[in-house]
Each structure stands twice: as C-alpha cells, then as structure tokens.
C-alpha cells in the first residue's frame, strides 16, 4: 500500500511545488504595485515618532507589522482606520496641491490632522497585496474585532481610553453611477475623515488614525516605460520613441481585453428578434435616509452567458415593451425595469418615428415612471443611441409627475442603444445618435460670426469704392505750390 501511494504523493508534491513556484512568480510580478499608508495620533498625545522609510523604499509586510507594533505599544489603543477602495501616491500628487497650489488641495482635513499630530508617519509605498494584511495585523495586536462604521453611527458609540477598539471606515474610490471625478470622490472622502476626526475630538479619547487602501488605484507605469518591450534602452532613445509607443500599444491592448464585448439583450417573438437593447452600464439608485444607494444592474443583464428574464415583454407593429426582471435589488425581492416604446406616422415630417414613451421601475407593487418621449426618439427604421441616458445629469428622462415615486430614483444608462421596431436579423440598424454634429453653441457662434463677416465684407466693399478725385489732375501741368505768405 505504501509503495503505491508514494508515486501519487510525489506527483502531488510536484504539482504543489510548481503551483507555489507560479504563485511566487506572480507575486514578484505584482511587486511593483504599492499603496501608501498614513498614520497619525490625535493631538495632545505625545509619542516618540518613528523614522520614515528612505525614499523609494517599498515597505514589506514584516516592516509594516513592526511599524504598527511600535505605534500601538506606546500610543493610544483606539485605532480609527480609513480604508479606501483604491489609493496611490499619485492621487496625493495630483489632487493634494503639491505644485504650489495649496488652495486647490482636496485634503484639507487630512493635512490639518497631520500638522496637529505630534507623530505623523507617512509610508508612501507599502507593497501590495501585503498591505491588505493591515486589518489582520491590527486585529492581532489590539486583540479586538474590527467594527465597520460610518460617521453617523460613530457619534452613538462611547469609546474608552483604556479598552482597545478598531473602528473601520470604508471610503469609496471607484466611479459610481454619478461618474464623479476622482477629485470629487477624494474630496468627499476627506470631508468624511474630517467629520470622523471632529466626532472623535468631542469624545476626547486619544486615538491612532490610519489612512490606507485595499488596492492601488494606478498601475506603476514608470518601470514598464523605461524598461521597454525587450528591456533596456536603445542608443539615443528619446521620449516618444519607438519603444515607448510599443509599450503604450501593449498597455492599450491589455486594457481593451478587459473591456466589455457582449451582445445585446434580444427579445424574440418566435424566431425573429423584435426588441434589442445594449448598454455598457445600467444602474439605478434610490434615495434612502438622505443617501443614494446604488445598484448596478449591468452584470445581471449583459455579459457572456448572462440571460436576463424578459417575461412580460410584448411586441407588435405599433407598441413594444421590454421588461427586464431582476431579483433582490436594493432590498426589493422583485424588481422590473420596463422600456415602453411606440411608433406611428407623423404627418408633418411624412415619416414614421418611434419614441421611448416611458422607462418604468416596478417594485413591490409601486411603479416609478420616467417620461422619455421628449428626447428619446428616432425614425422608426433606425435605432436610438446615446452616450448617457439619465434623469439627473443632462436629464433625458423626466419623472412623469412631481409626486411620482420616480423623483426618489436615479437611473443612469451609459452608452445606451435601443431598437424596438423594424429589427432585421440580430444587428442594430443605423444608430441615430442623440448628439448631432453641431451643438447649439456652435450654431449660435456660427450665426453671429457670419453676420459680423457680412457686415465686415460690406464695409470693406464700401471703403474700397472710395476713389481719390482725379477730375482736375493734370500730370503735365505745373505742380501745385502753396506759398507760405498770404
């Protein structure tokens, strides 16, 4: 029996060794990703400050543990941990007013806290994914479990200087339905940090605060740029050279591979596709207790192997209704997103047009209706496409009445394309885009400029018509002399 097992064991251990080897390679491959970590104590607490790492040094897991241990052994045992989804040192460079424009900095609260603290510690580069162990290490060293909070619940908590506590505040970074810029998100996070710190100040409990993230927000581009595709530099290599272009192309190819390529949602009547819908982002948000809670419906609607439930959809010559059924959206067990379209002949333009009459959200018996016919229309033979169909940013969808439940919802469809009639095959027809070639501003500028040009032309014409009087010129006669005396 033993002899039979050893070959198996040997093969298993061989596989394990190869696997571990691969893991290590992958780990060293990720070695160039770093996440900054900022730690400080509340003002009034004097602890011996630790020496920051030398410039460019990447702090590993062991070193991070020793920093934390030193800080927590002599410092306060109440730890406030601000954990952002993503962060890189470039965020501070770009948005922290580092170029002499301190007034544009989006981190006023953070900078104030670091200034007033007696022992701030900034680790610009903690290797990732070692930095994810921060919570685990804090948990071990404080011997408590982390409490996930937000600023409202913090004011209800009573902290004790003697008993250790680990309070974790999650801060977003990724682009939500609002497509807020990184600057706005970081500014919002900094405000939350300010709120938390002021609440902690009113509680007058000394604390240690840590600000870090779970992932880096940017890839380390510099290394790959200098290394080039084959590694090393070529003689007389200048910026924008062939190697840089190659590395840029490779990076773009990698990004494109991550981009979404999937087919549209098709509702078929029998064998023929009747309604088609495509988008890169479908998200709905509801306003609950002063905050917008968002739910992204894209993964349950689009993707390889994803087939959304279209029960209730109908389709005929003049009306088309696409019903997308979801479960467990924002606390509602059944949630429906309905697109109601209609087409008819319009006499003045002598053409058939279709309109997206309504976008309805049906949940738990309530129906929130958005009117879309004002802006979403296209000739009936074509599909309608728009980069952004929302009800809050350049709104295209409008709640039906001012008392409609739709006023508490925000819907946002990104890169949206829909066709409800005259679908041939399984491709969209020509896409009538919501954005025209000239914007209203361009037209206004063109008209005013052309008017000015016309005026200028006419004026020039008149001036060029003026001629010197030459009726009495006599080139052969004596020159005119004007005597000085009377």
């Amino acid at each position: 029996m033993a002899t039979k097992e050893t070959p198996q064991l040997r093969s298993i251990s061989a596989c394990l060794a190869v696997f571990l080897g691969l893991l290590n390679i992958l780990n060293t491959g990720n070695c160039d990703e770093q996440v900054p970590l900022i730690m400080w104590t509340s003002e009034g607490v004097s602890v011996p400050s630790q020496s920051p790492p030398t410039a460019g040094h990447i702090v590993g897991q062991q070193q991070l543990a020793s920093y934390l241990e030193k800080a927590l052994s002599v410092g306060p045992r109440n730890v406030v941990l601000f954990l952002q989804d993503k962060m890189s040192i470039e965020d501070f460079t770009m948005y922290g007013g580092a170029f002499g424009n301190k007034q544009d900095s989006v981190f006023p609260n953070l900078e104030g806290a670091l200034r007033s603290s007696s022992s701030p510690l900034v680790l610009p580069a903690v290797s990732w994914p070692a930095s994810n162990a921060v919570i685990g290490q804090l948990q071990d060293q404080l011997d408590t479990s982390p409490l996930y909070m937000d600023p409202e619940t913090l004011s209800q908590l009573r902290l004790n200087a003697s008993s250790p506590a680990l309070l974790v505040f999650r801060l977003p970074y990724g682009f939500g339905a609002d497509l807020m810029s990184a600057k706005d998100i970081l500014s919002g996070n900094d405000e939350m940090i300010g709120q938390v710190l002021s609440t902690m100040k009113t509680q007058s409990v000394p604390y240690t605060a840590i600000y870090t993230a779970l992932q880096p927000s940017r890839e380390a581009a510099s290394l790959s740029m200098e290394a080039g595709v084959g590694g090393g530099r070529s003689l007389l290599q200048a910026r924008g050279g062939w190697r840089e272009r190659e590395s840029k192309k490779e990076r773009q190819r990698k990004i494109k591979a991550k981009e979404v390529i999937y087919g549209p949602v098709e509702f078929k009547e029998g064998d023929d596709t009747c309604i088609m819908l495509w988008a890169t982002g479908l998200s709905v948000s509801i306003l609950r207790s002063g905050r917008w809670e968002e739910h992204d419906l894209t993964p349950s609607t689009f993707g390889e192997g994803v087939s959304p439930k279209l029960a209730g959809s109908t389709c005929n010559k003049s009306k088309a209704r696409l019903v997308l059924n979801y479960e467990k959206v924002l606390g509602h067990s059944s949630f429906k997103l309905i697109f109601a379209m209609s087409q008819r002949h319009y006499k003045v333009s002598a053409r058939r047009w279709f309109t997206l009459d309504a976008v309805e959200l049906e949940y738990d018996g309530t129906k929130a209706t958005f009117n879309g016919s004002r802006h979403v229309y296209a000739p009936a033979e074509y599909s309608y496409r728009c980069g952004s169909v929302t009800n809050f940013r350049w709104p295209v969808l409008i709640p039906r009445t001012s008392k409609d439940p739709a006023n508490q919802w925000r819907v946002s469809f990104a890169d949206f394309q829909i066709q409800g009639f005259n679908v041939t095959g399984s491709d969209f027809s020509y896409a009538s885009d919501c954005a025209g070639f000239f914007s209203p501003g361009i037209w206004m500028g063109l008209i005013t400029s052309l008017l000015m040009l016309l005026v200028l032309t006419y004026g020039l014409h008149m001036i060029m018509q003026l001629h010197t009087m030459d009726r009495f010129d006599d080139p052969k006669g004596p020159a005119i002399s004007v005597p000085l005396t009377e």
Partner: protein, 211 residues
C-alpha cells in the same frame, strides 16, 4: 480672354465667396438627402436650443448699428453736396442743415429703440426648453424682430433722406425758391423711419423676460 471676364479684384472675391457658400449648401443638402438623414435637419431644434439671449442681443445690436449706417450714409451724401454747393452759393449752408438734422433723427430713433429694447433683457434661470418657458422665447424673438424692424427701416430712411437732401442742396444752390417744396419730399422720407420705430415699439410691448 479670361482676363477680360475677370473685371476686377472685387468681382473675383465676391463670386468666389458666393460660389463657396452655395456649393457648401448644395453639397450638404445633397448628402442629407442621399444618406436619408434629412430628419436631422431640425429647424425647431435650432430655434429652441439657441439661447433667447443671442436673439435679443442681436436685435439690440442691429437696431443701433443699422440705424447708424443709414444716418451716416445720408449725412455723407447730403454733406458732400452742401459743402460742394456752398462753394459757389454760400447762402444755402444754413438752410440745408435741416436735411442733416433729418438724417441725424434716424440715428436718434435707432439709439432710443436700442435702449428701450435692452431694458427689457432680464436674466432667467432655465437651461432646457421646458424650464426656459415660452415667454422667454417670445421675448427673445420679439426683441430680435424689433431690432431688425427699426434697423432696416432706419437704414433705408437715412439713405433716402440723404439722397433727397443732396438734391435739395444742389437745387437750392441754383434756385432758392425750390428748397421749400423739396423739403416736403424729405419729410415724407423721414416718416418711414418713424413707422419703423412705431412698429418696433408695438412688437416689444408684450415682452416680459425673466422667471
């Protein structure tokens, strides 16, 4: 032979510009038709998406500028004649200043209307056609129309009075009895400018811009 066809630089320039303009329109129109994109040519979109402020200010600008062009042209024509005729018959100079005053009145109509119309421009807080509201669109278009009305009528009134005044000065230089009768012609010419002002005031009487 080609040189004979091209008379002067002006003709080349104007024919070139006209050809460019009409060919652009023709090609754009043809493309719209061929590609069945005629539905994108939407005049209503243009009229509702452009800001009423543009129309209002164009009206104000045109009111004063076209009136001044008319007045200036008239004065230039009359003034040259008075000055030229006054060399041989200095007695005409005082009487014929009346023609100049008639031309100047046209410019005064223009500036009064420009001030009246610009006082009606108020700010409003809408950004989409629905929130701007019909009243603001009506205000914008009325102000544009009033500006055009007063501008063009004053333009032609000024030219008319100028040419008549020039003839009056030269006739007066020949025979002093003629001036009084010719003045009546000038008065009729001047009345046209007044008509323009009256109609412009009627157009802007119902204008109410703002929220």
């Amino acid at each position: 032979m080609l040189l004979e066809c091209m008379m002067n630089g002006h003709a080349i320039l104007y024919t070139g510009v006209t050809v460019a303009f009409w060919s652009t329109i023709l090609i754009v129109g043809t493309c719209y038709t061929i590609f069945d994109l005629g539905f994108r040519f939407d005049v209503a979109w243009f009229l509702t998406e452009t800001s009423p402020f543009m129309w209002a200010n164009l009206g104000i600008g045109l009111a004063i500028s076209l009136s001044v062009v008319g007045a200036a042209w008239g004065i230039y024509i009359t003034g040259s004649s008075i000055i030229g005729g006054g060399v041989k018959a200095p007695r005409i100079k005082t009487k014929n200043l009346v023609s100049i005053i008639f031309c100047e009145a046209v410019a005064i109509y223009g500036i009064i209307m420009a001030i009246v119309i610009s006082n009606m421009a108020e700010s409003f807080s809408g950004t989409t056609p629905e929130t701007i509201g019909a009243r603001n669109y009506q205000a914008g278009y009325s102000m544009f129309g009033a500006g055009l009305t007063v501008g063009f009528s004053n333009l032609f009134c000024g030219i008319c009075v100028g040419i008549v005044g020039s003839g009056a000065a030269l006739a007066d230089a020949q025979n002093g009895n003629l001036f009084v009768k010719i003045l009546i012609v000038e008065i009729f010419g001047s009345a046209i400018g007044l008509f323009g002002v009256i109609v412009a005031i009627l157009q802007t009487s119902k204008v109410k811009m703002g929220d």
